[in-house]
Symmetry: C2
Subunit: 145 residues, 2 copies
DNA sequence: TTAATCTCTATTGAATTGATAGAGTTGATA
DNA sequence: TATCAACTCTATCAATTCAATAGAGATTAA
């Protein structure tokens, strides 16, 4: 399961994606629009910033904005920034591979093989789903209704 | 990520899969062979039993054995028995659907759509990977070496 | 009857999660 | 240049989960 924090992050990024590129949205407004506790959102935004997904403008009339066009930011990057690797085990991660503490033999591990397949499938889906695409799908859905 | 408990469970089930069908393996031996703390393994086996994946024989010369042929037990069932739904959010689960506490609109949720794709891909892979198949792959690998 | 086994519940310590608090820094603007 | 609204950072908190251990009880083959 994703953490609550990661789901908040996804929602907040979707809200930022709706804003005009480059124009900052302040944390307070973002918290309201994404329905996230403000002080908690601050921490989330700091993490997203550390991951290079957003940038901030300090001082009065400051706020946060996406660090890249909406078609360059995908769900996978957001989830990784908050919850870490997508894989179901450290040994199945490609972005953060680590031998499991109690792994007996990495090469012949039957479980690992399956977990790698899962992580690849997950990554393909989440890396293919950008903010731009998600926005577009939503607009199409609203139009159809 | 899977819990340590789930990874222990997968290992233990693989060991049980190697045993002759119907003949019980006692917890102590299983703990040694799967390299899992014995008392912790007991809890895991109880959960697997509650899920109907193994059955137990009590008393002297008792133990645990698979409740079905190795080709009828897949990784998905084992993971679900220990860690719960495969999905990344309650609202993306098919076996245990539940609306997210703070979900705004289930129908138009852009995030949910992606998470459902992930859960379907994950389920397809893990439901397709049975104990029998995993054993067979391992034997092939050992032969090749 | 006994000893070996599973069964069940409780407890523990550490880590994580979700959230709040507050002092500090920055910078546009009046 | 003073001010105030914004971001920044670290600490703290309660609740929960995780990983593991402990021990008393029930069951059954020998």
């Amino acid at each position: 399961m994703l953490s609550q924090k990661a789901r908040y992050a996804l929602r907040a990024m979707m809200v930022l994606a709706e804003a005009a590129p480059g124009t900052p949205t302040m944390t307070g407004e973002l918290a309201t629009r994404a329905v996230v506790p403000k002080k908690f959102l601050e921490q989330i935004l700091l993490a997203l910033k550390a991951a290079g997904l957003v940038f901030s403008t300090r001082g009065r009339s400051g706020g946060y904005a996406l660090a890249a066009p909406t078609d360059k930011i995908d769900f996978a990057a957001i989830v990784r920034a908050i919850d870490g690797p997508l894989a179901l085990a450290p040994c199945a991660s490609r972005t953060a591979y680590r031998r499991c503490d109690d792994c007996l033999d990495v090469e012949t591990c039957d479980i690992r093989r399956a977990l790698i397949e899962v992580r690849d499938a997950t990554a393909t889906i989440l890396e293919g789903r950008t903010l731009a695409e998600a926005l577009q799908l939503r607009r199409r859905k609203i139009k159809a209704a």
